[in-house]
């Protein structure tokens, strides 16, 4: 840079570094002090009465959860039960969609939503980060292949014959129990697990991959794969089920701060006893 009135002489610049650091430090301390004062004001208020029940869902996952495009509402087997729970609590259900299953679980466990109704299987690992209600559905996994596939499981039950799958390319949805099953049961038998297990973020992606032949086998919840296989000209068939006896439960935040689990359990036992539960099963799964 040329001289001549452009920059101040070096001697005058020397103090600037130190003073700017002091300004920063003072600013940061003042800001933190303000936060502290603010939290005292904010924390001291009592929360207002709840009017809505925020429910995390993942659509589309028929028949459990789906988004009705014409009405713009979420509907499904789980939504019907959630409506009953919300009525019990005198709240209006508000559904919040998450396309990313781990994000849904994270938000439920930390309390970002009141409860989650997204076909979540109760596992010990998940129990550490969130609380579950009683089971509202017992599901198995199903093995879905293309109609032209020659894969066969003895008596349509693949539970104890993972070796039939060890040479196939398997597609699963990330973060689900089918993914865990494949990893624990089939992966040790595979020759090249890195390329043979393909993980997808969303259900439609998994099914498209199967139809394209990118994967040979899809392992997913049995009612869902049955629905897809039974659709006309789907080109898919279910070769067997995997009896995992997975228990679906409604999830709430860790340690249930709002005390929702007893209410949910009361509603579930009430509808089972009165026969409403069987009506719902017939309505959505027949």
């Amino acid at each position: 840079m040329a001289e001549g009135g452009a920059a101040p002489p070096a001697a005058a610049m020397r103090g600037k570094g130190v003073s700017s650091v002091i300004v920063i430090v003072v600013a940061v301390i003042t800001f933190l002090a303000g936060l502290g004062v603010g939290s005292v004001f904010l924390g001291a208020r009592a929360p207002p009465a709840k009017t809505i029940l925020v429910v995390a869902v993942q659509a589309p996952f028929p028949p459990f959860a789906d988004f009705n495009k014409t009405s713009g509402e979420f509907e499904g087997f789980e939504m019907d039960i959630v409506k009953l729970i919300a009525a019990e609590l005198n709240l209006t259900p508000v559904y919040r969609q998450f396309s990313n299953f781990p994000a849904l679980l994270a938000e439920t466990g930390t309390g970002g939503v009141d409860m989650a109704s997204a076909s979540i299987t109760i596992t010990a690992a998940r129990n550490a980060t969130m609380d579950f209600s009683d089971t509202y559905y017992i599901a198995d996994q199903g093995v879905l292949v293309q109609s032209s596939s020659t894969l066969v499981c003895p008596s349509n039950d693949c539970t104890n014959s993972p070796q039939t799958l060890k040479d196939s390319i398997i597609g699963v949805q990330q973060g689900t129990t089918s993914f865990i099953w494949v990893n624990s049961t089939v992966k040790p038998l595979m020759s090249d697990p890195a390329n043979q297990i393909k993980v997808f973020a969303q259900v439609p992606e998994v099914l498209t991959a199967l139809r394209q032949g990118v994967v040979d086998v899809v392992i997913m919840d049995l009612p869902v794969v049955t629905a897809y296989a039974n659709a006309p000209s789907s080109g898919l068939k279910v070769v067997g089920k995997i009896l995992t006896n997975e228990l679906y439960g409604f999830a709430v935040a860790n340690n249930d701060p709002q005390g929702l689990v007893p209410v949910i359990n009361a509603v579930l036992s009430r509808i089972r006893a009165s026969g409403d539960y069987d009506d719902l099963i017939t309505k959505w799964f027949a």
Partner: protein, 297 residues
């Protein structure tokens, strides 16, 4: 007959017609371009013809055009949300990128450090992680401290802002490259005619840096439009999400309908990206200095 019609090749080449019987220097300098009306008319006519062909083969049964029309009204709903997200991400990202990129080239240690911290932090995180993390933090903060029962709408826009910050970090580097590309001789010359540092930056460096960085900035805009599909992870019902919503119905009727869905989603993204990139190109042409470019394309 007008010059541009004498040789039909000029219907395809838009840069214009060379003047005959002129010296070499005159020939290269005088390129009369085609009348603008003709240029836009040609492009529009080709687009409409292509659209007509696509629609007519649909009616003749090459694909299920009834389904394509039926899902269009749903995909448009998602398209509107994508438009809203893009309308936030692009300006915010550009402004952030501009200031942090400029700060990175500053003489002040503090501005440089802030810029570097911003760029390195947001560049190293995957956008999905940023969106989910920021939205989750915002939700928890709003629920527990401000007692907002359903902060979904706000949390969604916090996620979109996080994406804007991510895009801004890339744009900061683009802006920094633009500023660094201006030769230091320019600053010396500015100083010699008596401009202060600030004046020389605003009048000499930044206009040139802006012009140089425009193509890369347009590239980043085009890229971030596709990144907005990540907001479906926290509940934004944008175009890709609506596409996946339509999958179960399509799979229930006929698998080939899935291709129609995917093609329409791709076309809608293409239209949006094309519009944005074209706008940036128009700005580039506005700021272009003919004769200063290295390649005479």
């Amino acid at each position: 007959m007008p010059g541009w019609l004498k040789n039909p090749i000029h219907l395809y080449r838009s840069e214009g017609v060379r003047i005959r019987n002129a010296s070499a220097g005159q020939r290269s300098m005088q390129r009369r371009s085609l009348p603008k009306v003709f240029l836009y008319g040609r492009n529009l006519a080709i687009t409409i013809a292509a659209l007509g062909i696509v629609v007519s083969i649909g009616y003749q049964g090459a694909y299920n055009i009834a389904y394509a029309q039926e899902i269009l009204r749903y995909l448009i709903q998602g398209f509107v949300v994508t438009l809203q997200a893009v309308a936030v991400v692009i300006p915010v990202g550009f402004i952030l990128g501009f200031f942090f990129g400029w700060g990175r080239t500053s003489h002040s240690w503090l501005l440089r450090a802030t810029g570097t911290a911003y760029v390195e932090f947001f560049r190293s995180l995957p956008p999905l992680v940023l969106i989910v993390f920021s939205s989750l933090l915002a939700t928890l903060f709003l629920r527990n401290y401000f007692f907002v029962e359903d902060p979904h709408a706000i949390a969604l826009w916090i996620g979109v802002l996080a994406l804007a910050f991510h895009s801004g970090s890339y744009q900061a580097e683009i802006v920094r490259a633009g500023i660094l590309s201006v030769p230091t001789g320019q600053l010396d010359a500015a100083d010699s005619i008596g401009l202060t540092r600030l004046q020389s930056i605003f009048l000499i460096v930044l206009p040139q840096a802006f012009r140089v960085s425009l193509p890369a900035v347009g590239n980043e805009f085009a890229s971030v439009i596709k990144d907005t599909s990540l907001i479906s992870a926290i509940g934004g019902m944008e175009l890709t999400f609506w596409g996946t919503l339509l999958f179960p119905d399509a799979l229930g009727q006929d698998f080939n309908l899935v291709f129609i869905i995917l093609t329409e989603v791709a076309l809608l993204y293409f239209v949006l990206t094309f519009a944005v990139v074209r706008t940036v190109r128009a700005i580039e042409n506005r700021f272009k200095v003919p004769g200063l470019e290295a390649a005479a394309l």
